[in-house]
Symmetry: C2
Subunit: 226 residues, 2 copies
Amino acid sequence: MTELLSTTYTRADEAFDCLQTAIVKGELAPGEKIGELELCSRFNLTRGPLREALGRLESRGLLVRRPHAGVKVVSVSASELMELYRIREVMEGLAARQAAERMTDQEIADLRATLDTHERMIDEAQGQAYYQAEGDYDFHHRIATGSRNTKLAQMLLGDLYYMVRMYRYRLSTSTGRPQRALGEHRRIVEAIAQRDGELAEFLMKRHINAARQNIEKKIQEGEISI
Amino acid sequence: MTELLSTTYTRADEAFDCLQTAIVKGELAPGEKIGELELCSRFNLTRGPLREALGRLESRGLLVRRPHAGVKVVSVSASELMELYRIREVMEGLAARQAAERMTDQEIADLRATLDTHERMIDEAQGQAYYQAEGDYDFHHRIATGSRNTKLAQMLLGDLYYMVRMYRYRLSTSTGRPQRALGEHRRIVEAIAQRDGELAEFLMKRHINAARQNIEKKIQEGEISI
DNA sequence: TTAGTCAATATTGTTGACAATATGACCACT
DNA sequence: AGTGGTCATATTGTCAACAATATTGACTAA
């Protein structure tokens, strides 16, 4: 997942991917102290590559390390999750604007097709949470890369999305508003297709803001807890 | 610089800091292939901690690594530098808005004091580029942390600023508009002091946008090149 | 002369052993 | 009984040797 372009795949890369998905899927509980040798036996790794992977994950903020004290998965509060959405709002707004300016017609066609399959999944499967999340992730992923802003895509795909997905898995509940979200996605795509960057930015910001408020409400109502 | 709070300072942290500053200061030329043992002898390190530091730096996008092929400092084009400023614009705009909502009165007072010393430096030293850059960095640093948005501050301080500083060193020229920048800084601080988040965000975005256009103009005029 | 292949080499990736340190229990002391 | 300190232990940080691979150069054939 890290460098698919690379010819070889080092053990450190393997360790990084294993740990990252394990953290995202919640298989490694946050706050729990976890030893290196335990991780080694669990993922069939040796300590060298493991430590290198731990360094990368720490650098990305997915876990914290105290010298000689071990490593634990980062535990984030509800307020911090809300802060993540504030960041997404401005960064993905920028991504949408630049995507409107730079995406190829082919990419836009693919994006539309993505939304069609997403719609089918919602109809057929009554919008199972997992596929909803994947569809949503795919949409935002395409816009991030479509921005042609290398660093922006790197920060969104390499940092923010993993944290957001971590919470999606942990809450094990989707936004619960698939039709509405799909409609918002469609309007964003239309703005991009019309090369209206300003409108695309506005719609994307409003879209993420709505998602944030939706989660905030659920948390306040006690439906979900972190 | 990485974890000053931590009681102990591991060799890997040392390696990370050494390499990072070396990259930022341009002592390690971008694009140049550089061997691990050479780095070891140069910074009095062993390969273990060095490799861990290399992993972190790669994760932060300061260098690229190809398996069995070595590591080289990332070389970024002028257009990519401009993209960095686009990201800064939206992210620091958010930081300024949240700082206006959350900074303590003491922090705001300190921020004002920072600008005063910055003004003195400009007057006395006729604005030597290095101190200008440091003063500017300090200003943006305080607002990032003042946002109380952990992830936002982490991304700004841990990712973007190092890349921007890298270019500052490489161009070895400041923005060349110290007085104007100082005035913009002052207006941002006043907006924060009045707890006007919306205005602070607007002014910060305009400030960074102006800096970007300034550099863009210089590049087009051929004054500086990358 | 040039292109391609093959092997030698140097560099990176990995592994296991050694040293340093934080944690936790136990005991003495207040 | 509570607190403070000390010591044993287990875990992490570090190091040096080994294995695997990309690069470089020479050599051969077209």
